[in-house]
Symmetry: C2
DNA sequence: CTACCATTCAAACGATCGTTTGATTACCGG
DNA sequence: CCGGTAATCAAACGATCGTTTGAATGGTAG
């Protein structure tokens, strides 16, 4: 239960269970398989992210003077926050990125099932703020935003990243740049 | 030599050698280790990508009437082209994305060494077209472009992707959307 | 206290991995 | 034609993986 926090797809169960100081067989006893364990951890993360995003979206929608930047913030900030969470946030992104990389159909469907509705709600909100955009055009652009965000969550990048800034300020800096860039991209003619 | 084309990090040497119809031991005989094989394949791909990108960049720079969109095209199109190459292009992206995901320091340094100079040349060209941008600001934005591009290369995305369009037209469509979006993002105030 | 059920544990299982070995084959200059 | 070097091959090695097993342990209802 607790140790699931340490869960990470690429690591072996022996490493995970050793780090969590539980017996190796406990995983298969409680979860049935390693895959089920991963899915469980993954689902919790995704649920949490969905919750935060929808709450932020509701906040934005409640504001009559909302701007595109606010909406982007509701989409971007919860994701960056979770990806930099100390307790397994990085692992979450790692599993995600690996799933992307491997073209894992199973996880792809899983994401579509457990994340699609959030994406659709955001798409609706975006469409209301960008009424001149065709629906398909918006989807293309949101996909680009999602790509840039995912990349940022993985915290790769050959150029940026300073050591003298706190993690939190780095995150906020990232969010601001992403939001400004994406707002311009979404507003493009 | 030939079979290296099929190389893919996540796959086992037994799968790879079986698919290439060569003996299992041939890999260690010719390359020393699986890791060396991967690095070799990876380096070739990256060299090819660098070549194409620099050639496209030279073409753009030779044009006095060049626009930001042309420059972005020189950066984006060779990458998309290679990622959709039938012979191992997907594998290349897979290794790349996995390296991102795992925060592989080794491959990270490898990329920085063998790819940094291309990125720097492009950054210079971008800077000349966007003279009002601070250098650091440009780097932030280029990093976002790289992220969106990487994501597009992995061809993930929950929304887009139709089946009735050819791979080539899909690629060009992707490129155009990426370029338009990124141009607006880069030009943002 | 006892009987029962859930949990924990050390140990082993079978499969697969990357690598090594030693024999066999292919090639080729002298 | 022959000798030696390079390449190929089947087989095995040791390590590690996820999973299973069966005994030891814990707590709890009757």
């Amino acid at each position: 239960m607790l140790f699931a926090r340490h869960g990470f797809a690429g690591a072996s169960l022996r490493q995970v269970t050793a780090a969590a100081k539980v017996n190796l067989a406990a995983v298969n006893y409680h979860f049935g398989s390693k895959e089920s364990l991963i899915e469980e951890v993954f689902r919790r993360r995704l649920d949490e992210l969905n919750r935060h995003r929808l709450a932020a979206l509701a906040d934005v929608e409640a504001n009559p003077a909302r701007e595109l930047e606010d909406l982007l913030g509701a989409f971007v900030r919860p994701a960056l926050e979770q990806s930099m969470d100390s307790a397994g946030g990085a692992a979450f992104v790692r599993v995600l990125a690996r799933a992307y990389a491997e073209h894992d159909e199973r996880l792809r469907r899983f994401l579509s099932d457990n994340y699609g509705h959030v994406l659709r709600e955001f798409a609706g909100a975006f469409l209301r703020l960008l009424p001149h955009l065709e629906k398909e055009e918006l989807y293309w652009r949101l996909d680009i935003v999602a790509g840039a965000l995912t990349y940022a969550m993985a915290d790769f990048g050959l150029i940026k990243r300073k050591n003298d800034v706190s993690e939190q300020s780095h995150r906020e800096h990232t969010a601001q740049h992403l939001i400004r860039f994406a707002a311009a991209g979404l507003r493009a003619a």
